[in-house]
Each structure stands twice: as C-alpha cells, then as structure tokens.
Symmetry: C2
Subunit: 154 residues, 2 copies
DNA sequence: TGCAATTAAATTGTGTGCAATATAAATTGC
DNA sequence: GCAATTTATATTGCACACAATTTAATTGCA
C-alpha cells in the first residue's frame, strides 16, 4: 500500500466529471427548459407564462400572500417577482396592495379573473401527462427525489 | 359495475394535481435554479456564466462546433446562443468564424484562454459535490433518470 | 425614547431563454 | 440551370433570473 496522500480525485477521473453527459446539473437544466416549453402553448391559451402559472398555483392554494411568501414558496427573489407580479396585475389576474399592518409588505391576491383561470388550468396536468410517456408512479418518485435533493442543499 | 364513461379524472383528483407540491415541473425548475446559483460564485471566478460553462463543456470535448451543433448538444436555439457566443467571443474565450465550405455555418472554437480555463474548471465538479450531501451513486442514478425522461419527450 | 440593525420590496443592470421573423447560403425539383 | 424549398444563423421583442443596491418600514435594545 502506498503512503496515504492528501485526498484528491485523480485528474483522469476529474476529466470524466467534466463531460456534459456526466453533469447532473445539465440534465436538470435541459429537462427543466424542455418541460417549460411543453407548458408554454397550453399556458399561452390562458394568457400566462410558466412562472406566472407557478404564482397562481400558490395563490389558488392560499390566496393573499405577500411577495416574500411567494418568493419563499417558489424560491425566487423580489427582483424576479416584482416585475412579474406587475405584469400579472396589469393583465388583471392579481391585485397588489400594501399591508395596512406592515407597510413594508405587499399582499398579492387573486382577482375574479385569476380565480376563474383555475377551472381551465385543471385540464393542464392531464394534458402534460399525456406528453410524458412514463408511469405516473415513476414521475412521482422522481419528483420526491428532486424535492429531497433541494432540501439537502438549502 | 357502472356503465363505461368517457375516461376522465375526477375533479377532486384534478384539484390535487394542481398543488405546487405535486408538480414535477416545479421540482425540476426550483432545483435547476438552485443548482445554477450554487455554480455562480465558482464560475464568476473564471469570468463565465452557467450557460457559458455548458458551451465550454461541449467545446472541451470537441473543439470547433457550429452554432447548430452546440444548440443540439445543449437544447438551445440560435436566439439564445448567438448573443451568448458573442459575449464569450468579446471576453476572449472563443472565436466565431464562417465555415468556408458552407457559408451559412459559423464555427465556434476555443481560444488559448478558453482552453486554459479547463484547468481551473477541473476543480468545479468536486467543489459542487461537496455542497450536495447525497451519495454519488444516487446523484448518478438521478441524472440517468432525468436524461431518460428528456429523451422520451423529444 | 431614540436610533442602529433588521426586514420587505423595489430598482438597476446584465445575461439568459425563446417565439417569431428576417436574411442569406445551399439544395432540390423540374 | 434556375426557381422553389430548405437549412443555418441572426435579429427583434418580451419575459424571466439574479446579484447588488436602494428605499422605506419595523424591531430591538441601550
């Protein structure tokens, strides 16, 4: 046995790790982009984008959330959310109001139109599932793995 | 047995499917964003962004690729790649030259500086792995599942 | 009470993503 | 051979993402 050395990965191994096909990050990035593109035509019918759809998913579960609460739910910052929410407001799907109890906060609420969108949106998960040829049980297992991995990174 | 009806998912079930926590797409989106943020400080030291890093991964494996070949490798279109490659060119990491055999094509090649970056980049996969507290075997299995799912969507 | 530290959003600036369109070179059909 | 089609890249316009900074409101605590 050779004497113990500093723990390093040999450079041949490190070179393997730089290959695109070995990158978990790229597998995530490419699949995420692709799935967003799958949603796009369905969401365009509703007049919303994919990140806007995510905001609606949160609000349909709990209406009247602050920008910060939305940001924590979606892991997005105010630099992304503020202009996005302003677009949703000007399109008539949400209202943005200062919280009277804490004037720093802006509370985002569904309008009637925003609530109404939910009925049409109920068709979306099914329409998406049709385009993904994998058993639902596998998709669910994959989702849980991804959620778990994200938690370990926090 | 009730008479066969049109195959539809009951609306209570559809409502479940609209919850954020049940969305595979969001699990992908949020994890992909988060991992990109993990890379950002490491890549900033090299003077590149995450998508630029992906371009370099391709070129380090096969130098001198056309814009179209890069786009197929990374699943990105010319609207994304053209300005990104121009930034990489002006930062001195790649050259962009019309292919003499086919004047429609633009061949992207590594400069000396672009090739040199690879040495520093060899440290990156290891640095990332340290921030993700999961066995490499699991990460590898996850990557393969994601690659497979992307193929089924093509 | 008073004011420094913290918190919540907004703003600024840069860099993606992508649909739609434009431009130009190569290929195909006749 | 050459017009019509196809292919490769670029451009335009819009909507994210996010780091860094700014502004304003609240909290903590001496």
């Amino acid at each position: 046995m050779p004497k113990a050395q500093k723990m390093t990965v040999p450079s041949s191994k490190r070179a393997q790790l730089l290959k695109l096909d070995n990158q978990l990050c790229f597998a995530l990035y490419a699949l995420s982009n692709r799935i967003t593109r799958l949603y796009q035509p369905l969401l365009a019918e509703l007049g919303i984008t994919y990140p806007q759809y995510l905001v609606l998913l949160v609000l349909w579960e709990h209406d009247a959330r602050s920008v910060g609460e939305l940001g924590r739910a979606l892991d997005l910052d105010s630099g992304t959310l503020t202009p996005l929410l302003k677009r949703m407001e000007s399109n008539g799907f949400v209202s943005r109001l200062r919280d009277a109890d804490d004037e720093r906060r802006v509370v985002v609420s569904l309008t009637t139109a925003g609530l109404k969108l939910r009925e049409h949106a109920l068709e979306i998960p099914g329409a998406l599932a049709c385009q993904i040829d994998l058993p639902l049980s596998e998709l669910s297992a994959l989702r849980i793995q991804l959620q778990h991995l994200r938690q370990t990174i926090e």
